[in-house]
């Protein structure tokens, strides 16, 4: 089982994402509602991949990534962003992220896209 952590401050999107990812029987999906929660879940549950929303209050996606790396956690990170502008996407690539997925995502193929990035 691949352990997937989906982090987003929007509860509706968390729910949709969890449903979409769970369509893949090989995925074990958890969610977190904030950067701080994500850090705690990563420490406790040790997921195989973290899908990180970029725009979150208090601690945004890149900050979470930086914090993970500073704690020596090398879990692959994929950003999910509604600001799907290429310049931003390219800058994420330099942040040691596995990839970037654009919102709105296609729920049916989301799991396949994540698998493709791993």
């Amino acid at each position: 089982m691949i352990r997937v952590l989906y982090v987003d401050d929007e509860p509706d999107i968390r729910e949709i994402a969890e449903l979409s990812l769970s369509l893949d029987p090989g995925f074990d999906v958890h969610t977190a509602a904030s950067g701080e929660e994500a850090l705690a879940v990563v420490a406790e549950w040790q997921p195989d991949v973290v899908l990180l929303d970029v725009m979150m209050p208090v601690m945004d996606g890149p900050a979470v990534l930086a914090e993970l790396r500073s704690r020596g956690v090398n879990t692959p990170v994929v950003f999910v962003t509604a600001r799907a502008q290429r310049s931003e996407m390219q800058s994420f690539a330099t942040l040691d992220a596995k990839g970037v997925l654009a919102k709105p995502f296609d729920p049916v193929t989301l799991a396949a896209q994540v698998r493709a990035l791993l």
């Binding site: 929007e10 949709i16 509604a82 600001r83 290429r86 709105p104 729920p107």
Partner: protein, 702 residues
């Protein structure tokens, strides 16, 4: 006023010339008059002296008569004194008189001389008698009255001469008087003319002066007006000399930069820049600036301005030559800080809106997608249909947002284009693959045609795919069921052309002019049903233009529409790619640049091709490379490509020569290894044959 100017100028010139002429004439007349007066004076002098001499002569004769009578009557010698004095003078006076040879006087004087001699002789005779003591005879002679008669005759003669002289003088004076009167009249006339001329000149001069004054006032007003415009304008204005040094500034410059006007005059314009370029670069840039025309300023630029207090601000500069060919420049500097701020706000707003809209759409689209996929349980037929409608419209809304953001970014210049060297064939293949599903749902077939040789452009692959995708999806949507959409890539002059052809209903005439406009749809209801946003072609055109290309459309013979995208062709061989020594070297000689480009592109990756346009360049290239094959054209003005064959043979014995020519029968007579006629053989044939023969050449050489 302007029209009479030449006339007036001619008039004043004439008047000015007439004045010295009049003065000369006047001088001449005056001189004549003076001469006349001098002559008259001489005449009068002479006449007076003549008359005086005549009087003298009479007096002297009276004297000698007095002496004669006194001596004869008294016998006293002392009475002889007047006689002695008079007698000594008479001859002298007579001689003076005889000096007047004027014809009017000569006969009278001659007569007078005779009378004088007779009278003198008579007196002398009586005196001699008396001296000899014969007083009686002497008295008798005196008493006879001969002396008195002679004296009377002489007096008469003198009177006559005197009259003649007087009459002559009167006549002379009279004629001089007449000429003096004439001179007087002439003088007055001349003076009058002179005064008239002077008046004329004065009037003309006064008018010219007034005109000049008016022009001066007008120029002054114009200057003032322009100064007011320059001073009143919000934009900063610099007048620069030919080397870019500041000659004049307006108050807005002082306000924008904070420096005093006096301080700035004489400084170089780069002084105002926060990040000034090298002086030489700045000068070179300035030299390229033209004058402002109908199309606006000569040149535009942006720079970061540096204020006196060290603060910086963004500027937009329009710079032009003061006049075509003139050496100075005028630069209009606009503070665009506010505009940049607003642009930043707009970008921020767009970004926020996109995020805020996409976040709920992610949930809606996700939920609907999961529902319609059946992944979370089966729905009833009606419910399933409704969810499908909601889902497709949700997707359309997402596309619409993406398109709006795209067009906003392209038009504001914010979209980043990642330009790389691209081949067109793989690009259109990717587009077809990506649209295969969409085409299948519309029961449309996609067909690709492209040449065997690579067509290369400089472009952003993602954006060009977006462009072609927009055209292809339009074509699919407008094709009849069972139809075919054709994608054709080809070379078109200096461009790569991508044609997207459909067999749809064509574009309504009324819609053609605004087809590339935003939210442009031929028939709203119909097209919305097809799921378009109305922005696709607008985006496509923006992308094409940002690549230096264009997009056009035309009706297709037999129905339907062709959209054509032209992108500048990159000729890699000609642009000096790094040499690939393992590839065979091929020389191509042709004076047709298009043909050189096409062939060079066709050989790309298969051979190292050296393209030249003249026989001389070809001979030079032979010294630098070892060629496996040469492709030559026959007609290379002004020579024949066949002239090159001996050089080619001499340079490399195994070298294969191919003739690639437009001539049907080039009459090569076995001089070359192969002949291909341009109209009959394709460039692919040429590539294939050349490579095969180059391979043989290699074997031959080995």
């Amino acid at each position: 006023m302007m029209k009479s100017n030449p006339v007036r100028r001619a008039l004043s010139t004439l008047a000015l010339m007439a004045i010295p002429l009049a003065l000369l004439g006047f001088l001449f007349l005056m001189q004549n008059q003076f001469r006349d007066i001098r002559e008259l004076r001489e005449l009068v002098d002479e006449s007076v002296s003549t008359r005086a001499q005549l009087t003298d002569l009479l007096v002297e004769h009276l004297n000698i008569e007095t002496g004669q009578r006194g001596f004869v009557l008294t016998g006293r010698r002392e009475f002889l004194e007047p006689y002695v004095v008079g007698r000594s003078r008479i001859d002298e006076t007579m001689q003076q008189l005889a000096g007047h040879r004027e014809p009017r006087l000569a006969p009278g004087i001659e007569r007078l001389r005779q009378l004088s001699r007779q009278k003198s002789a008579f007196v002398d005779e009586t005196i001699r008698f008396a001296q000899d003591g014969d007083f009686a005879t002497a008295r008798e002679m005196v008493a006879q009255g001969r002396g008195k008669r002679l004296m009377d005759a002489m007096r008469l003669q003198v009177e006559q001469l005197d009259r003649t002289e007087r009459a002559h003088l009167k006549l002379a004076t009279g004629s001089r008087d007449h000429s003096r009167d004439r001179l007087e009249v002439t003088t007055y006339l001349l003076l009058a003319a002179f005064a008239l001329l002077l008046a004329l000149v004065a009037i003309v001069t006064a008018r010219a002066v007034r005109e000049r004054q008016r022009e001066f006032v007008r120029a002054n007003e114009l200057g003032e007006r322009q100064k007011a415009i320059l001073n009143g304008t919000v934009d900063g204005l610099l007048l620069l000399d030919q080397d870019g040094y500041i000659r004049e500034v307006n108050p807005s410059i002082v306000r924008l930069f904070g420096y005093d006007e006096e301080f700035l005059i004489g400084k170089h314009n780069t002084f105002l820049m926060a990040d000034p370029p090298a002086l030489a670069d700045s000068l070179a840039w300035l030299r390229g600036v033209g004058s402002a025309g109908r199309r606006g300023a000569g040149r535009r630029m942006e720079f970061t301005g540096l204020r006196q207090d060290g603060a910086t601000f963004e500027t937009d500069v329009a710079i032009s030559r003061i006049a075509p060919g003139a050496s100075g420049y005028v630069a209009i500097i606009r503070d665009v800080t506010e505009r940049k701020r607003i642009e930043g706000l707009k970008t921020e707003f767009v970004s926020t809106v996109s995020h805020e809209l996409r976040t709920p759409l992610t949930s809606i689209g996700g939920a609907l997608g999961l529902l319609s996929s059946g992944a979370v349980g089966q729905l009833g037929d009606k419910a399933s249909r409704l969810v499908q409608i909601a889902h497709s419209n949700c997707e359309r809304l997402i596309r619409l947002i993406n398109d709006i953001l795209d067009i906003e970014k392209i038009q504001s210049g914010k979209m980043h284009f990642d330009m790389r060297r691209l081949r067109i064939a793989p690009l259109i293949e990717r587009v077809t693959a990506a649209n295969a599903q969409f085409a299948a749902t519309h029961d449309v077939t996609l067909a690709i045609t492209h040449p065997a040789w690579p067509l290369v452009v400089d472009g952003d692959a993602d954006r060009l795919e977006q462009l072609v995708t927009n055209l292809v999806s339009n074509a699919i949507k407008h094709s009849p069921r069972g139809g075919t959409v054709e994608l054709v890539a080809s070379q078109h002059g200096q461009n790569v052309r991508i044609d997207v052809c459909d067999r749809g209903a064509g574009i309504p005439h009324a819609f053609r002019s605004r087809i590339f406009g935003k939210f442009a749809m031929a028939d709203g209801s119909d097209n919305r049903a097809r799921g378009g946003t109305g922005l696709g072609l607008s985006i496509a055109r923006e992308i094409a233009q940002r690549h230096g290309g264009s997009i056009t459309f035309a009706d297709r013979p037999g129905g339907g529409t062709t959209f054509s995208v032209d992108l500048p062709l990159i000729c890699e061989a000609a642009s000096g790619q790094p040499a690939q020594p393992d590839l065979p070297a091929v020389l191509h000689v042709d004076d047709d640049q298009d043909c050189l480009d096409v062939v060079a592109t066709a050989f790309e990756g298969a051979a190292r091709i050296i393209s030249v346009g003249t026989l001389d360049e070809a001979r030079a290239a032979l010294g630098q490379h070892t060629f496996a094959a040469a492709i030559i054209d026959v007609g290379i003005a002004p020579h024949s490509g066949l002239d090159l064959v001996p050089d080619l043979r001499a340079a490399a014995p195994g070298l294969k020569v191919l003739l690639f020519t437009a001539l049907d029968e080039p009459h090569a007579d076995g001089k070359v290894d192969a002949v291909l006629v341009k109209s009959r053989s394709s460039v692919e044939d040429l590539v294939r044959l050349t490579l095969r023969m180059a391979g043989e050449s290699k074997k031959d050489a080995a």
